[in-house]
Amino acid sequence: MKLTLKIWRQKSAQTAGAFVSYPVEANEHMSFLEMLDVLNESLVEKREEPVAFDHDCREGICGTCDLVINGRPHGPLPGTTTCQLHMRHFKDGETITIEPYRAKAFPVVKDLVVDRSAFDRVIQAGGFISVNTGQAPDGNAIPIEKDIAAQSFDAAACIGCGACVAACPNGSAMLFTSAKVSHLALLPQGKVEHNRRVINMVHQMDKEGFGFCSNIKACEVECPKEISTVNIARMNREYYSAMIGSTEK
C-alpha cells in the first residue's frame, strides 16, 4: 500500500516545528511503528535525519510509544497502543497525520518525542505504599476478595503512556492519577495512607501544570488500557473526604 505521511518535525523544544510530507510504501501486516521504521531507513539512506519517536516493548505494555495519529492519541482503534496498531486498519492511498502529544506538562523533546517525567513526579508525590523491604507479613496473611483484587488490577493496568492527557482539551492527568489512587486505595495494604496519598498526588498534578477535569471523558475513550473514569469519581471522593479530615493546608 502507498501512503502519504504528514509528520510533525521539530528540532527541539526551543525551535518551531512544522509538518513535512513523506511518501511511504507499506504492507498491511506491518505494525504502525514498523511502517515508520521503513520510512526512517529510507531517510537514512538519503542521508536525512530520521523521524524521532519513542518506543520500546512494541507489545502494548511499556507505555513508551505515544503518537497522535490522525488527531487521536494511539490512533483509531479502541484499547490499542500505537505499537499494537497494524497497517491493515488503514487504506491504500491514505494520508496519515502524525504528531506528538500536545500538552503543557509534556514539552516536546524532538519531532514526535515528548518529556513525560511529570508523571514520575506525580507518583513520587505519593503513588506508593510505605513499606520497606523485609517488613512484609506473609502474602496470605490478609485475604483480599477476588473482585476487589480485580478492580484494583483494572486500575493498576495503566501503562503511564499519557494518552489521557493528550486527549483532554484541558491537558488533565486525572485519569492517570486516579488510576494509581484507585489501584492502591482499593487494597487493604494501601488503605492505611490513602488520605495523605491522594492529597499529595493531586497537589503535585496541579504543580506540574496539568489542567482541571471538566468531565469530557475523552481520556477514557483514548486510553489504550480502557481505564474507566469511575476512577476519577473515586479519586474526587477520596480527595474531598481527605481534605475535610486533613490538617494540611
Binding site: H29, V44, D56, E145
Partner: protein, 665 residues
C-alpha cells in the same frame, strides 16, 4: 587467573543464613556518606536502588528510559516462582532448588541457586505488601499455576501482566525513596563507560540522551542491573532498546563474561511474518498449561494448510501429531523451553511446519475450551452435551485466564485464537550468560556488582519459566542489600570520590572519541542494516543448534562485518543533541564484539546442554548429550582488548545433587 566464587562454608541449608548473620555491616552514620550508583531500573535495579535507599545509602539510579517504569521487565507475562507451597502439592525450598539446577542442565552453582529458592517466598510477601494485585482465589488467598519443567504449582501471577505489576511495585518503592531524597533518579541517561580507580569501580560516564552531554558520576560502588543481550540476534522477544553496552563497557575495563553462549530460545512466539519485522512477540509459557502443541501427521495436510486449502480445525484428531505429548509423556506440553523449542525445530526441519515459510507449529486450545466448558456446565447444572453452550462457557474461562494474550495474538496476526489454533515458533528470549559474579554478586572488579539478567548467576544452561523475575527481585531486594556490605564495610574511610580524577577524564575522553568516530565514518549503510545482518549470522550459526564448522564460519563473518561497520556505517544527526541513531550505533558496535565472544564460547563447549545444542553431541533420539567429565565448568571469558579472548574456568562442584541425564520422558 583464580576465580573465587566466595561460597560460604557450611551445609547447603545453612550457608546463606549463617553468612548473612556474620557479614560485615556498615553503620547507619557511615551509610549516609556512602554513595552507590545503580545502573538500570528494571526489576533488579529498581528493587536494589529502593532497598539500598531504605537502608540509608546515598543512591544514584540511572536508566536510558524516560521512566523506570518502561524497563523491559514490564513485558514479562507469565509469572514468578516461589517455594510457598500454598497449594500443598509437595513444594519446598529444596524442590525449587532442585528443579532449577536440573532445569539448568547442571551448569549452575548449587549455593547460589539454593539461596534463590530460599528467598523466593519473601519476594511474594514483599510484593503483596507493596500492592501488587496477584491473582486470587474466591477465598481471597493467592492463586498459583504451573510452568514448564516442574510438576508443582508454584507460579504466582497477575493476569498476563506479572512483570508489569511487579515492576510497578518496585518502581513505586523506588519513587518513594526518590521523594525521601535517598535516591537521585537520572532518566534518559545512558552509561557509556565504567570508571575504575586503583582497581575498584568508582563511577561511570553517562550520556544525557536529551542534550548529548557526557557526564561524570562517582560513587563508592557501582551496580549494573542492565538486563540481557538477546537483541544481539536482532530479532528477539526483548524490547527494542535492550542492549549489552553497560556490561560490555565493563568488560572492556576488565570484567569477565560467563557462559556468553547460553541463550534461551522460547518455544511459543508469534512466527516471523516479513523482512521488515522489528521484533518478535512472546506468547506466554503459561499457555502451555492449557494449550496442546501439534503439527499434522501427513505431508498432504501440511501442503493443503500452507496453500490455504485446509484449515487446522478440519484436521482429524488421529491425523495430528501431538509430538511433545508423544515424546515426553511425563511432562507433555510442559517440558522445559529448550526441549520444546528443539522439538518444534525438528518437526519443522522435517517438513511439517504449518505456515508458508514452514516455520510454525500449532498451539491449540480446543481441548481446554471443551474441558473447562463441560466443567462449567456441570457446575451450573446445564446440559454438558450442548456443544455450542460448552464452547461458549469454555471460551469464557480461557478468556479469564489468558484474555490479554489472546487479544494480543489477534491484534498482531489478525486471526482469532479462540476459533483456530495459534501458530507459534521459537524465538530468542533470554540470555543465561552474563557478567561473571561471585556469591556476593560482585564481579571480578572489586566494587562492581551485577544483578538480574545481566549476570550469569542462577540459571545454568537453561532458565525455567517464571524464574527471571524471581532472580531479579531476589538479587535486588534480598541479596545485594546484605552482600554489598562486604565490600562497603572496607570503604567507610574512603572520602567521596572526585570526578576530577584523571581516570574520569580519561574515560570521558575515550567515550567522546568513540562517539566522534561513529559520527565521522559517514559511510553508506544504516546501523539497522548492520544489526540485521549480525542477527542473521548469530541466528543461523549460533542459534537453536550449532556445530563447530558453522561457528568457525560465523566468526569470520562477524569479524568481517565488524570491520565493515567501522568503515561504512552512516550515523545521521549530531552528537550534541537527542539522537536515537547514535545511541543505536554505539550499542550495535558492542553487539558485534559480544557476538564473537558468544561464538567462541559455543565453539569451546564440546557438549550439548540446555539451550546450547551442538549437533555433534546428541543421543540417537536427538536429545542433548552432556559431558560432565570435561565441561562441568562455567566458561569465564576475558575479552582481552585487541588480542585473542582468553578463557578461564570455574569448576562447578555438585555436593548435594547427583548429575543425571535430564529426562522429561
Amino acid at each position: 587467573m583464580k576465580l573465587d566464587a566466595k561460597i560460604p562454608a557450611g551445609s547447603l541449608e545453612d550457608k546463606w543464613r549463617k553468612y548473612r548473620s556474620t557479614m560485615n555491616l556498615v553503620a547507619p552514620n557511615n551509610k549516609r556518606r556512602i554513595e552507590i550508583i545503580v545502573v538500570g531500573t528494571g526489576l533488579a535495579g529498581a528493587s536494589a536502588a529502593a532497598s539500598l535507599g531504605e537502608l540509608g545509602y546515598h543512591v544514584k539510579a540511572f536508566t536510558f528510559h524516560d521512566s523506570p517504569r518502561r524497563a523491559h521487565s514490564i513485558a514479562a507475562q507469565g509469572g514468578i516462582n516461589a517455594a510457598k507451597n500454598y497449594q500443598n502439592d509437595g513444594d519446598s525450598v529444596y524442590r525449587l532448588f532442585y528443579d532449577t539446577i536440573k532445569g539448568g542442565d547442571y551448569r549452575s552453582r548449587e549455593a547460589n541457586v539454593y539461596r534463590l529458592a530460599e528467598v523466593s517466598a519473601d519476594i511474594i510477601d514483599q510484593c503483596v505488601a507493596q500492592g501488587v494485585p496477584f491473582a486470587r482465589e474466591y477465598g481471597g488467598l493467592l492463586e498459583n499455576r504451573s510452568f514448564g519443567g516442574v510438576q508443582v504449582s508454584r507460579t504466582f501471577y497477575a493476569r498476563g501482566q506479572t512483570g508489569q505489576q511487579l515492576l510497578i511495585g518496585a518502581y513505586q518503592a523506588l519513587s518513594r525513596q526518590v521523594s525521601l531524597g535517598t535516591v537521585e533518579l537520572y532518566n534518559r541517561h545512558e552509561m557509556l563507560d565504567l570508571v575504575v580507580m586503583d582497581g575498584k569501580a568508582r563511577g561511570i560516564i553517562a550520556r544525557n540522551l536529551l542534550t548529548g552531554k557526557l557526564e561524570r558520576h562517582a560513587a563508592h560502588a557501582v551496580i549494573l542491573a542492565t538486563g540481557g543481550y538477546g537483541n544481539v540476534y536482532y530479532l528477539s522477544t526483548n524490547a527494542m532498546n535492550c542492549n549489552v553496552t553497560a556490561a560490555w563497557r565493563a568488560v572492556h575495563r576488565g570484567a569477565l563474561m560467563a557462559n556468553p553462549c547460553f541463550t534461551q530460545i522460547h518455544p511459543t512466539c508469534i512466527p516471523v511474518s516479513g523482512s521488515y519485522q522489528s521484533k518478535l512477540t512472546l506468547m506466554s509459557e503459561s499457555l502451555r498449561n492449557d494449550g496442546r502443541v501439534w503439527v499434522p501427521k501427513n505431508t498432504a495436510d501440511v501442503e493443503a494448510i500452507r496453500e490455504g486449502k485446509r484449515s487446522p480445525v478440519d484436521i482429524k484428531e488421529e491425523d495430528r501429531d501431538y509430538y511433545l505429548e508423544r515424546r515426553y509423556p511425563a511432562f507433555g506440553n510442559l517440558v522445559p523451553r529448550d526441549v520444546a523449542s528443539r522439538a518444534a525445530k525438528q518437526v519443522c526441519d522435517d517438513g511439517f511446519g504449518v505456515n508458508r515459510s514452514g516455520l510454525a507449529v500449532y498451539l491449540d486450545f480446543a481441548s481446554a475450551i471443551e474441558r473447562y466448558g463441560k466443567s462449567q456446565a456441570h457446575q451450573q447444572g446445564l446440559d454438558t452435551n450442548d456443544q455450542a453452550l460448552v464452547r461458549q462457557l469454555g471460551e469464557k474461562v480461557v478468556e479469564q485466564k489468558y484474555g490479554n494474550l489472546f487479544e494480543m495474538y489477534e491484534k498482531i496476526t489478525g486471526t482469532n485464537p479462540y476459533k483456530s489454533p495459534m501458530m507459534i515458533y521459537p524465538a530468542v528470549h533470554y540470555t543465561m550468560g552474563g557478567l561473571w559474579v561471585d556469591y556476593n554478586l560482585e564481579t571480578n572488579i572489586p566494587g562492581l556488582f551485577a544483578l538480574g539478567e545481566c549476570n550469569f548467576s542462577d540459571h545454568g544452561a537453561n532458565r525455567l519459566g517464571a524464574s527471571a523475575l524471581m532472580q531479579g527481585l531476589a538479587d535486588g531486594y534480598f541479596v545485594i542489600p546484605y552482600t554489598i556490605g562486604q565490600f562497603l564495610s572496607g570503604e567507610i574511610r574512603t572520602p567521596s570520590i572526585k570526578t576530577d580524577a584523571p581516570e574520569f577524564a580519561a574515560a570521558e575522553k575515550a567515550t567522546r572519541e568513540r562517539l566522534e568516530k561513529l559520527m565521522s565514518i559517514g559511510g553508506s549503510r544504516s546501523v539497522e542494516s548492520f544489526h540485521r545482518e549480525l542477527g542473521k549470522i548469530m541466528w543461523d550459526y549460533c542459534g537453536m543448534s550449532r556445530n563447530a564448522e558453522g561457528l568457525k564460519t560465523a566468526r569470520e563473518k562477524i569479524q568481517a562485518l565488524r570491520k565493515e561497520y567501522w568503515q561504512d556505517v552512516f550515523v545521521p544527526g549530531s552528537m550534541d543533541d537527542f539522537n536515537p541513531e547514535l545511541e543505536k550505533a554505539a550499542r550495535v558496535a558492542d553487539f558485534m564484539e559480544l557476538g564473537e565472544m558468544m561464538i567462541l564460547d559455543a565453539l569451546d563447549r564440546n557438549e550439548s546442554c540446555g539451550g546450547h545444542f551442538r549437533e555433534e553431541y546428541q543421543t540417537p533420539e536427538g536429545e542433548a548429550l552432556r559431558d560432565d567429565k570435561n565441561y562441568a565448568y562455567v566458561s569465564v571469558w576475558d575479552w582481552n582488548g585487541e588480542g585473542e579472548p582468553q578463557l578461564h574456568k570455574e569448576e562447578l562442584k555438585f555436593e548435594n545433587v547427583e548429575l543425571k541425564t535430564r529426562s522429561y520422558k
